[in-house]
Each structure stands twice: as structure tokens, then as C-alpha cells.
């Protein structure tokens, strides 16, 4: 899965940290930085630059939809989630029967979290939170993840597939339960960058 253009370029953040730690009296800390980021998001700001005597930081936010997770294997075809609504002349469209999808409820929940980056399942299988039944979960709410952090296992045909976060941030939502069947594209975790 490709990395979404992030709210914050980690290189910039690290650079800011490196610059600040290298100079005596430099005054930036992670809490301040997080607050700035939150300020950006809450006020819908696209870009923010702060300059003080000893440092300067610029944050730029790309507004991308939370649902765009591309399979690394897929070519440039974009999976279209829903067709646009259409005014229909006759009402032959079947109304009620709808098959039971594993993903139905989770998707409704995830669709409300449009500001989070979603980790979606790249395959159909069974979701497990820990490497083994007795072990601790890979991540919990509040865990910080990097792109290569393993967040869960999806089992398919007796093969345990480790799923990586492919994003940086903090786990704030978990949409599925341990042992639950999941389908391709189903939201698993919500990450706040």
C-alpha cells in the first residue's frame, strides 16, 4: 500500500528536532509541535510557518481523502468505492435484500473519521491483533507507528500475513475485533498523524 501524502513531513520534524537539540537555549519540544499540528487541522489551515529567534518551522497540510489506500501491487487503476447517484426513470432497482458483508458496520464507523488515515485490509481473511493467542497485541489505542510497524495479522489459507502500517502516527481507532473475518478494503485502524 502506498504512503499517503502526510500532514507532516517526518524529515522536517526530525530536522527541527535535530536543530533544536544541537543549539543551546533552543526552544521547541514535541508537545509544542503537536499543538501546532492540531491547530493546523482544527482550523483547516493549509500551511503554517513559525519563526522564532532560534528556529523556524513550517508545516504544510495536504488535504487527501482518508480512504485512498492503494495496494502496492495494483497498477494505476483507482478502485472506485461508490458510483455517483443517478436520477432514475423507473424504480426497478431492488430495494431491500442486501447480503451480509463482514465490512458493513466497520465501514460506517470509519466513514465518520474522515480526518484519520485508515489502514485497510489488503486481502480477505481473518484479523488477529497479536502474533499468537497468548501474546500481547501488536498495537493498541495510543500506540505510535512508523511505516514498517506491524499492526496486525490477517490470516488467509493458513498463512499469517503481517500487515504493516505504511504510515506514521498514533493509533486512535480500531474498527475490527480479534478473530473477525475481514474483506478486501475493509478499514482496520485509524491513525492520526
Amino acid at each position: 500500500m502506498a504512503r499517503k501524502e502526510g500532514d507532516l513531513n517526518p524529515n522536517r520534524r526530525n530536522k527541527a528536532r535535530a536543530e533544536s537539540s544541537g543549539r543551546p537555549g533552543a526552544s521547541v519540544n514535541m508537545d509544542e509541535l503537536r499543538e501546532l499540528i492540531a491547530l493546523l487541522r482544527e482550523n483547516g489551515l493549509a500551511e503554517f510557518e513559525l519563526e522564532r529567534a532560534d528556529f523556524r518551522v513550517r508545516l504544510r497540510r495536504e488535504s487527501s481523502p482518508a480512504q485512498s489506500n492503494y495496494s502496492a501491487d495494483a497498477p494505476a487503476v483507482v478502485p472506485t468505492p461508490t458510483p455517483p447517484p443517478v436520477d432514475v426513470v423507473s424504480t426497478a432497482k431492488p430495494a431491500t435484500p442486501t447480503a451480509h458483508h463482514p465490512g458493513a458496520q466497520a465501514e460506517t464507523a470509519a466513514s465518520e473519521d474522515s480526518d484519520l488515515h485508515l489502514i485497510s485490509s489488503p486481502i480477505v481473511g481473518t484479523f488477529y491483533r497479536s502474533p499468537s493467542p497468548t501474546a500481547d497485541p501488536f498495537v493498541k489505542i495510543g500506540s505510535n507507528v512508523e511505516p514498517e510497524t506491524v499492526v496486525c495479522i490477517i490470516e488467509a489459507m493458513k498463512l499469517m500475513n503481517e500487515i504493516q502500517a505504511e504510515a506514521t502516527g498514533e493509533i486512535v481507532k480500531i474498527y475490527v475485533e480479534n478473530g473477525q473475518p475481514v474483506e478486501y478494503g475493509q478499514p482496520l485502524f485509524g491513525i492520526r498523524s
Binding site: 497498477p75 472506485t80 424504480t91 431492488p94 486481502i123 488467509a156 478494503g185
Partner: protein, 471 residues
Amino acid sequence: MAFNPRKFKKILIANRGEIACRIIWTCKEMGIKTVAVHSDVDRDSLHVRFADEAACIGPAPSAQSYLNIPAIISAAEIFNVDAIHPGYGFLAESAQFAEICEACNIKFIGPSASVIRLMGDKIEARRAMNEAGLPVLPGSSEAISSEEEGLKLAREIGYPVIVKASAGGGGRGMRIVRTEQELGQALKTASTEAAAAFKDGSVYIERYVEQPRHIEIQVLGDEYGECIHLGERECSIQRRHQKLMEEAPSPVLTKELRQRMGDAAVSACKKLGYSSSGTVEFLLDASGEFYFMEMNTRIQVEHPVTEMVTLADIVRNQIRIAEGEPLGYTQDDLLIVGHAIECRINAENPETFAPSPGVITAFNLPGGPGVRVDTFVYSGYRVSPFYDSLIAKVIVHARTRDLAIARMKRALEAMVIEGIKTTIPLHLKIMDDPRFRAGDISTNFMEYFLARNGRKSAVEEGVGAGAKARA
């Protein structure tokens, strides 16, 4: 005979579109639960809505969804299904998929993997069926190495013959030869053309069938060695090896010829130990000689015309056979009543055949006596460009062929699909064609029809003579 019946509680349908719906309808009648697997763009497809359970297994490209064996098996395990019905196309004739199902203890609704593999190799299939007693088109199985060899072979085969490129297709590197005097020159020019087109100038010789008809025999076999045929379908109306419409019975088959062809097909299938639904394809020449072309080890698109005239439910029989039930019919039980015609409605421009995906804005299905429509689209449905263009099959059944043609005309006129282009107007024109109405058709029909109706002839489009179709 030890029967080993195991009733299915749940079947996963490894397919999409109209055949997925078709399978669901019979499963509902049998009280069997269904699981639909689909790509993300097929989320709103009818088969997904009417299945009991569903799972998205991948993105739109077939290789990552409907051909994705691990994803399909994974879904089958999650939903704990008893069997998988592969439909037609996709994995229906994948011996590997059949084997994997077996290894995972999921019943593959179809014949054994070994028979699938054998019939999938067209040269081996010809050899095996020939050994099993079916006539095959006389011809050389290897490339011709000299003009002398060619002449000798052609004398054995009998004129007219056709010289064909070994590496070729699409009408190139082919020459029809009617007399011995023409053979030498034909071998040279065909070879030169083949070398230019396919970088391989080797050619072989086959009997040339003038105005061949594509006649296929539907068979059903159980897992205990019983096998019967359900009569024939005529599928001569094709464009570029794609069937456009089919009918049962064939307007030219006599009772005697039907019996000969049917018995030959059944006898060969019994020798192979064939089980489940299958179709043996033949080429029929003007003198009533028939030759084995290939066998399709699956249910076919055009199965409804057989169902209409025999009152059989082929999907139901496939499921019963897979459950381990004995066939329960003998050949004497076969009844062929009336005449059925099927038109394949594609989302294409009816004159240029260019694909026409898009949203269906108005939709009306014909009804009334003797009309059946197998479809998966509805008003508001978005026809996607990722899969083949078949969106509906209109099938009619009536007491005679003339009545069936009249019925098809009025059914097509009442079929409304707006928002996209469809081939309905083309089929209406065919219904009015005098040769079609007379039953005077062969695999060259569309070439004649398109030329007559002002379109580029099929030969210019590269369709070879004596070609047979892919279902």
C-alpha cells in the same frame, strides 16, 4: 454402487454477473445458502445483493479478484462453505483451482481436475477424443516439410483442404485449396504470409468444411459412470469467434443425426469418466458429417436454450451431481419440446461493436409467455469497463421455430435499456434476415449479414474460414 451423498448447506459462487445470479436462483430453490465474492467495483452488482453473504476480495482487475485463487479460498474458509461453483470463464476450467479446492476440502462443482486439464489442451483433447471414438477433422498434426508430403497428405484427407499456419490465427496464413493443381502455390503463399505475420512459416493441412455449422451436445454425467446427453445447441452465429445467439434444437438436425452425435458424445465422455455438466463441440458439414472440435468442461453461457426445451435445470443437476447423487435419468427420459432461441445482449454499439459502459438510466424487462431473461443489471446500475460486455441474455421458447422468432422479436422490442448502447437493434435485424428465418446459417453467417447490411465484412476483420467459436 456405493452412493456417498453429502448435502450442501452453503455454496460460494466464484464468479460475477448474470451467471452468478443464475446460480443463486437455483440455490435458493434448493434451500442452499450462497456466498458472493466480488471486486470493489462490483459492490452494487445484483448477485451481491441477493446472495446471503458476501465479501469483497480485491480491486477491479480480474487477476486480483475473480482470478485470485488465494482470496477466493480464503473467503470460502471464512464463510465455511461446502462447495464452490465456478460458473463459466474465470476459474471454471482451471485444473489448478479444482485441485486446490480439493486439497482444502471444498467441493469444486465440476468434473475432475485431470479431465479439465486434458480437455484444456486442445491438441491432447483431439487425440483423446479420437481414441475414444469421435471423428476429428482429418488433417496433419505436424508441419508440412515439403510439397510432396503436402500433396500426399491432401490426397489422403480429400479435397477441399485448407492450409493453415501452425503459429497463426485470425485468418492469416490460411489458404483454401479445392484442387490438387492449386496446392503447391497455396503452400508457398500461406507459408510466406505466416512467416511475415507470426515469424513462423510452418503450415499444416486440414480438411476444409464448406459452410460449417457449429453444433454442440450438452452432456451430464454423475460420479458413478452414468452419462446422458440433453440434445444439441446450434451456435453458428458468431462474430470473431464470439457467439451472438444460439438455438435448440438445430434447424437441420434429424432425429437420427441427433442420436448419432449424442451417442458419440456420451460414449466418449463415459470412456473419460466425465462427471458434471459438459459440452462437446462439433463442426457439421453440408453432407451431415460431423467432426469433434473441442470440449468445454463447464456450464456454458447458452445453457438456457437447452433448459427451455428439455425442462432441465442444469445448475441444479450440477449441484446434485457434486453432492454425490446418482444422475437418476436414462437417455430415454430425454424430451425435447418446442424451440428455444437465445440472444446475447452486450453493452456495445450495435454497428461498430465498440464497448459502451456507463449508467443504465431506464430499464424494462420483457415478460409474457415463453420469455426468460438472465441478467444482473437494473435501472441505475453502472456497467463497468473492466469485464466482458454481456449484460443480459434474452431467451424465448415456443412450439415452433417460426413462433420462437416472432416471440424473440416482440421480446426484444419490449426490452428497454437506456443510458448505454446495446446490441438489441442488431438482434432485431437478424430476426428479419431471410436466411436466418429459413435456418440457412453457418459460421459464415455474420460475414454475409454484416456485408449485406453495409458493414465491413468479417473476412476483412480477420476471421478465418472454418473457424469455431469460444463459448
